[in-house]
Amino acid sequence: MTDFIQGVLVPILYLLSAVLFIFGLKGLTRVGTARRGNTMAAGAMLIAIIGTLLDLGFVDYRWIVAGLVVGGAIGAIAAVRVEMTSMPEMVALFNGCGGIASALVAISVLWLDVVEKPEVAGTVASNLGGPAAFTTFLSILIGTLTFSGSLVAFLKLNGTLPGRPIMLPGRHALNLLLLVGSIAAGIAMAFFAVDLGTIELLCLGISGASLALGVLLVIPIGGADMPVVISLLNSYSGLAAAATGFVLNNNLLIISGALVGASGLILTQIMCKAMNRTLLNVLVGGFGVDEGTAVATGEYGVVRSAGAEEAALILEAAESVIFVPGYGLAVAQAQHTVKELADRLTKHGASVKYAIHPVAGRMPGHMNVLLAEADVPYEQLVEMDVINPEFKSTDVVIIVGANDVVNPAAEKSPGSPIYGMPVLEVWNAASTLMIKRSLSPGFAGIKNELFEYPNNMMVFGDAKQILQELNTELKDLLGA
């Protein structure tokens, strides 16, 4: 019976689980099937857990139940309570949890099968096998690094740590030293150390070094680059799980870990492209330092500005309106006000769309979730490549809380630092309304040439307040 369970049933359940994970992800390729896809993936996880419990047979469940109950409660409460604006922080924390869990499993296996084994002799490799010994090290390295890196990303995102890059002197040398040191210690731990004390010490050393490495890798990266960092850490948490799969010779862990690793890598690549940066450039860090601020302000020529009243008159005549929301919109908590304004315009007969730049939020797709929360139908959320040709035939574009992503310099000024970055071509519209507090630059720290365009109007003020005023003015103009 046990033979059947462990030899046939459990592998079949694991295979089923892996297939369901893939179908679940496939479900996520369309909005209509996404929710079912997620449920399918959750079901796959449940099957995997049941399979594992069957494989274990009757064991002592005290530790297992304790971990499941505590973790499940924390996870559920966090998931129900989190604000949608804080999703990036949440995902960063969850990433960290996944990473540290993989590392802890690897360390636990090392203790269980080597350190705590009676009459153990020889190296870790001779006990676990070479590949498992080496991947134990990899799992600890990637897992712990993901943990501390995610924590720093979390602290940066929620404002505990400053968003600006923190540049330590000699950090590249230090990072290299930590990495090379960890690898050396990892090889020593896996293949050469025979004394238990030495193995324990090396394991602790690797954990400490990779914790430090995670912190040092993320801390020099500016707040605006967080979408890239979160995507990359997401990928790492998958790779850590895959490494743990190699430790345990468990294909399900390898498959799922690889899927997540691939997903994170693709998102990282998309984010880098959207910001016109190479991954290396982001990781080296330091971007988004305020050095450009002084240059950028006070350099503008003629800038036209309007109050809410004048802006409302422009909107009254518009038949097609596109909103360009940026993270500033979320900061001002003005998503619902935008939706209200959009409804009013739609009722008046205008067509309304939202142009979403890939880095409009603090993580990939963040702005879409924020607008979905404000009840904006997802068909109205249009991605950059699709909406760019439409600006030509648009009457009014309203830019709220976005800056660098509508800067014409990215296409027209070869000397500009953001030249080549894909942007929303709002300047092609008949008129643009830029709602903004001042002429201050965005994260790139450079002048926005749009401000000087003859068809642009600056509407100075707090995003939410201006939008509310626009709403009131339009109500007067159009009636209810």
Binding site: F21, G24, L25, L28, V31, A34, R35, N38, A41, A42, M45, A48, L56, D60, R62, W63, I64, G67, L68, G71, I74, G75, A76, A78, A79, M84, V91, G98, A101, S102, L104, V105, S108, W111, L112, V115, G129, G130, N234, G238, A241, A242, T244, G245, F246, N249, N251, I254, A258, L259, A262, L267, G361, M363, G365, N368, V369, A372, Y378, Q380
Partner: protein, 95 residues
């Protein structure tokens, strides 16, 4: 073929499957994708169950228990919050 080699085969092929599927996911769904993928990376929970199967208080079982807790936060939190997000995506009511 050794166990390691099989593992490497599985890993590489799964990466390709991942790339194929995930490049098709529209930008609108990138945040749910990320939190969902995050929950999937909690699969390490399976590993942690193996690590925590002994009742006595040892380094391995305590670490295993911690690993279960962390992985479960990831799994339960990840799937729930993804569902919460996806619930909000709706079609235009007027159509």
């Amino acid at each position: 073929m050794g166990v390691l080699l099989i593992g490497v085969y599985v890993f590489v092929l799964s990466m390709f499957v991942g790339f194929e599927i995930i490049t098709k996911i529209p930008p609108t769904l990138h945040t749910p994708l990320m939190s969902g993928a995050n929950a999937i990376s909690g699969i390490t929970l399976v590993g942690s169950l193996y690590a925590a199967q002994r009742g006595e208080v040892t380094v391995s079982s305590v670490l295993g228990c911690l690993a279960i807790a962390f992985a479960t936060v990831n799994v339960v939190g990840g799937f729930l919050v993804t569902d919460r997000m996806l619930k909000m995506f709706r079609k235009d009511k007027r159509k």
